[in-house]
């Protein structure tokens, strides 16, 4: 069982509400999404593990059991080319769940015309493996879902 933590505070809205078919159709795995509070925040590592991919707008942490969790900060934010995002860790770093990884401001992303919604995905998991999915208001570091 892997407990996946909310990387940011906000409202857990489910993947189907994400305005991007890759996430809303769970093409890369099940999970949920958080509509973040519009304030500058530090996005957290969702699990203990190694940062195997780190972009300014998205990162993947893989646990020692090989399970990877993707956190994507906003939709189509790759187009921002890192502007408005500040890395607080490096690719290859080992992190603890709850450790800050990227500083950003959802309000700035939204002001730029993009959705700041943050999908959190259990990569390549089967749909039924994810349960206990939080709904509604969550704080950063709260349990977001369980990956059995």
């Amino acid at each position: 069982m892997t407990t996946v933590l909310a990387p940011v505070a906000g409202a857990a809205i489910g993947l189907s509400a994400v305005p991007d078919p890759v996430f809303s159709q769970a093409m890369v795995g099940p999970g949920t999404a958080i509509d973040p509070r519009r304030e500058p925040v530090e996005a957290l590592a969702p699990i203990d593990g190694t940062i195997v991919k780190l972009h300014p707008h998205a990162y993947v942490v893989v646990g020692d059991d090989g399970r990877g969790v993707l956190v994507h900060l906003g939709i189509d934010t790759v187009q921002l080319k890192g502007e408005g995002f500040r890395l607080l860790a490096a690719e290859g770093d080992r992190v603890r769940a709850g450790q800050p990884v990227v500083a950003w401001d959802p309000a700035v992303v939204e002001a730029g015309g993009r959705s700041p919604v943050c999908p959190v995905v259990a990569l390549d998991a089967v749909r039924d493996a994810v349960g206990g999915i939080a709904e509604g208001s969550v704080n950063a570091g709260d349990t977001l879902f369980e990956w059995s």
């Binding site: 078919p21 890759v22 890369v28 707008h57 998205a58 993947v60 993707l70 790759v78």
Partner: protein, 78 residues
């Protein structure tokens, strides 16, 4: 399952049809000359989780190995 760079090139209509390949964390954003040469079934057989096409922009969803696959494709097509 890692997607196969050679098979993705073929599914996009071959190296000559590809204008640009840009990786995002879950997908390849590609621009092609002729979208009618793109074979979605072949791309899925090559390991893509999904394919989204809008005009000449074809997004191939390959999961978090997108960076690696994009650089493999760039190495092959030069």
């Amino acid at each position: 399952m890692a997607a196969d760079a050679e098979a993705i090139i073929a599914g996009l209509g071959g190296a000559d049809n590809i204008i640009e390949v840009e990786p995002c964390i879950t997908r390849l954003r590609t621009e092609v000359h002729d979208a009618s040469k793109v074979n979605q079934a072949a791309l899925k057989a090559a390991g893509a989780h999904g394919v989204m096409a809008a005009g000449n922009v074809v997004q191939v969803v390959v999961g978090p190995e997108a960076d690696t696959i994009a650089s493999d494709i760039e190495d092959i097509i030069g």
